[in-house]
Amino acid sequence: MKMVTKHFGELEVDDGDIIFFDEGIPGFEDLRRFVLLSEENSYPFSWLQSVDDGDIAFVLIDPWYFKPDYSFDIDEGIISKLEIQNEGDVKVFAITVIPEDVKLMSANLRAPIVVNINRKKGIQYIMNDDRYSIRHYILEEMKKQGE
């Protein structure tokens, strides 16, 4: 299907690429269908584009790129909801806030986007873990890693 998006203009979306967020994403509960998009040389960043609303797209980051020791347990309930059978099914991303001063970009490690790439099911998983917050300043974290 063809759709018009804010960031990519006209976009051809293959039905097989659509990931279903059955609970939506907090604040956007009505939007259930998303696609993961990457741009050339954009790693560790990618996009989570809503298929239901072309204006809605989140920047994602691979959390391990700036926080190599990031780890969390996923609830049994979520594992069955996403039909996860093994670790290879799972991809994890963090929603990234990019302010005008991009050096202050931050990632939400408390509520990562967890996707079963094989079953095409996703969720924003809100963990009960005080080690992580909704705002980790990415460049600051990288500096810490370098020390």
Binding site: S42, I95, V102, R135
Partner: protein
């Protein structure tokens, strides 16, 4: 902040319409039950923060991800 001590199965009233029960206590977890009118929104605090952060994430300035990626590599 008003601080009250309650035991399991005891409750507090907020105004006439809202009642908050302590249903169970296990280690550092407390199970809470709330009776409130339907028009009173009740969410876990962190969900409200996550909703706000998600909304903020949409206000991305017009910058190519490739530029951000370069910024990261300089940092590394």
């Amino acid at each position: 902040m008003l601080v009250l001590t309650r035991k399991k199965n005891q409750s507090i009233l907020i105004g006439d319409l809202i009642e908050v029960y302590v249903l169970d206590i296990e280690g550092d977890k407390v199970k809470i039950g709330i009776n409130a009118p339907k028009n009173v929104p009740i969410v876990r605090r962190e969900i409200k923060e996550i909703i706000e952060e998600n909304k903020k994430a949409l206000e991305t300035p017009n910058i190519a991800l490739e530029e951000l990626s370069k910024l990261m590599k300089i940092q590394k």
